[in-house]
């Protein structure tokens, strides 16, 4: 008989990468459903395209590297990357947008650095930034919430629009993006930003129908759905609370200060939290276990940096939303954060 001696902890729940990843993409389902309720069926087609691209790229690159394709498919990390990217881009963007973005995320951002667990940058967000920098028009053409739209789109229409740029009746995306009054609408953050630059006050800018009653039609509920999914992840201990708390604090505190001093020309903290990609970023994107900091203190600092950068870029930067840039910039800071937030092992150094 052998006595096996193992290091502590002796009682633990073993979780494979696959299980962790499965929880992540299960937890975004409420967000996807809310998204499709407000912005139409495009998101499902984008998800399909993203998943197909991710699987094909993953298989191709594993074949080239001489590794097992099945193991890469089984760990489900490519699925999470594809799902997050498909959620992030405008749901009626042309098909090649999502294909280029996903292929770049998998081939360059993930596998050039060595594959699962080796990448420096969050693959989905690096793919998003590539798309945003290269194709600004397509990447800022968000569909308007269906409740405000002139025309409703069927699934066949959506497919036509994504594959060819025109719906079955011959409407272009630009025409479909106009509201009942025929004015093209931007996302709440984009619209607010443009109006502020046109010398309107925040209160005046918020009069537009796109804002509705609750942080923008659709966007508020979308963020609530991602918040719900994120809380499930924290409850399931898939992610620790430090990163989301850091992001939300880092965003809210400076935003509140600015808003208190200058309410006419700044975005209210409520809109900061409930619009754009805030909740998706805080709970699903920033918490990527590979590219985030590793200690709890480090994670909190990492989150604070992301939150503060989101607020800074939204307020003074060149883009209406900022989660992707903030996450990539914070990814670069991770080695430094890890170096200075390394917990002391018991009995080594520290205060005497």
């Amino acid at each position: 008989m052998t006595f096996k001696i193992a290091a502590s902890p002796h009682a633990h729940q073993r979780r494979t990468t696959t299980q962790v990843m499965r929880w992540v993409y299960l937890a975004v389902i409420p967000g996807i459903l809310v998204h499709s309720y407000f912005f139409g069926l495009g998101i499902f087609l984008q998800l399909l395209l993203a998943l197909l691209t991710a699987w094909i790229c993953e298989a191709a690159v594993m074949r080239v590297r001489g590794r097992s394709v099945a193991s890469a498919w089984q760990d489900h990390t490519a699925i999470v990357t594809a799902v997050l990217l498909a959620i992030s881009i405008p749901s009626l963007a042309p098909w090649w947008i999502i294909v280029i973005g996903t292929a770049f995320a998998i081939l360059v951002v993930k596998h050039v650095y060595g594959g699962v667990g080796q990448n420096l940058f969050n693959p989905a967000m690096a793919g998003y930034v590539l798309l945003l920098v290269s194709f600004p028009v397509q990447m800022t053409s968000w569909p308007i919430p269906q409740q405000l739209a002139q025309l409703q789109l069927s699934l066949a229409d959506t497919w036509q629009l994504i594959s060819s740029g025109y719906s079955q009746a011959g409407y272009s995306l630009e025409q479909l993006r106009s509201g009942i009054d025929g004015v093209t609408m931007a996302t709440p953050l984009d619209s607010l930003r443009t109006d502020l630059s046109h010398q309107l006050t925040t209160a005046e800018a918020l009069q537009k129908p796109i804002f509705g009653s609750f942080a923008g039609v659709g966007w508020g509920y979308l963020n609530l759905a991602f918040l719900l999914g994120g809380l499930v992840l924290i409850y399931q201990r898939i992610i620790s609370w430090h990163i989301p708390a850091g992001v939300l604090l880092g965003l809210t505190v400076p935003a509140t200060l600015l808003w208190l001093f200058n309410p006419d020309q700044s975005i209210s903290p409520w809109l900061h939290l409930m619009s754009g990609a805030t909740m998706l970023g805080a709970f699903f994107i920033a918490t990527d276990p590979v590219t985030a900091a590793t200690s709890n203190k480090g994670r909190f600092i990492f989150g604070l940096i992301i939150g503060a950068l989101v607020m800074v870029i939204r307020t003074w930067g060149g883009y209406p939303d900022a989660v992707a840039f903030a996450v990539l910039l914070a990814n670069m800071a991770v080695p430094v954060i890890d170096k200075y937030s390394q917990p002391l092992a018991y009995g080594h150094g520290g205060r005497t």
Binding site: L130, V133, Q138
Partner: protein
């Protein structure tokens, strides 16, 4: 003649200033958005490199060791100024599109590196040849990088070649692909880093494969069986 062959190989491949020494990356990454710009800057660097190598090699016995670096920099700066004035006079369009990166050739570490590492220790004929080969290696990488970025980001090759070579060269422009929405990232600085990374990776992969092929298979020793099975 063997020394010259060695210098050629060093400059173009095994010790290529851009791919192996990774020197002069700033202009390399900044101006290679088109083949024309890349070729223009590459040729300017090549000429400065040959000129500075010859001069440094000629004065090497009279320059005290303690102040050699300032002297080399002065020599290089002189050639860069000459180059800049010539470009201003003869290829004004290119001069404008390269802008600050022409005077910045002074700070190109590849040039001072060759002055210090080779020209200050070798006769002028060899130094001139070394400058030519190093410059050529640098130019080739620049042109390759420029070509890849121009194809991906713009779908063309030799766009604006008439700026460098005169009016006849506008015929050189090749429209390879017509993009409705070009991949802007390839033209922007991040694209330069990404493409450069892939070129270096490609070179390393090629070298590794060559090394594996060159490895002679070890002699197989078979044991003589003395007992029957």
């Amino acid at each position: 003649m063997n020394a010259y062959k060695e210098l050629t190989l060093q400059g173009l491949w095994t010790n290529n200033p851009a791919l192996v020494q990774l020197l002069g990356l700033c202009p390399l990454l900044a101006v290679t958005s088109t083949v024309t710009n890349a070729l223009g800057l590459g040729l300017a660097t090549l000429l400065v490199l040959v000129g500075s190598n010859v001069t440094v090699s000629l004065v090497r016995d009279w320059v005290p060791k303690e102040i050699r670096i300032p002297v080399f920099v002065m020599v290089i700066a002189t050639f860069v100024t000459v180059m800049q004035l010539l470009m201003n006079a003869y290829v004004y369009g290119l001069y404008q599109s390269l802008g600050i990166f022409i005077p910045l050739i002074v700070t190109n570490c590849a040039i001072i590196g060759r002055a210090e590492a080779y020209a200050s220790k070798n006769p002028w004929q060899k130094s001139a040849f070394d400058g030519l080969m190093m410059g050529l290696g640098f130019t080739l990488v620049l042109v390759l990088l420029g070509a890849i970025r121009e194809i991906i980001g713009n779908g063309t090759l030799f766009d604006g070649a008439d700026l460098l070579l005169g009016a006849w060269a506008s015929e050189l422009r090749i429209e390879l692909v017509q993009f409705d929405y070009p991949l802007l990232l390839a033209i922007l600085p991040p694209g330069a880093f990404i493409v450069m990374g892939f070129i270096i990776a490609g070179k390393n992969w090629f070298d590794q494969r060559q090394a594996e092929r060159a490895k002679t298979p070890e002699k197989q020793v078979t044991r003589a069986r003395v007992t029957a099975q």
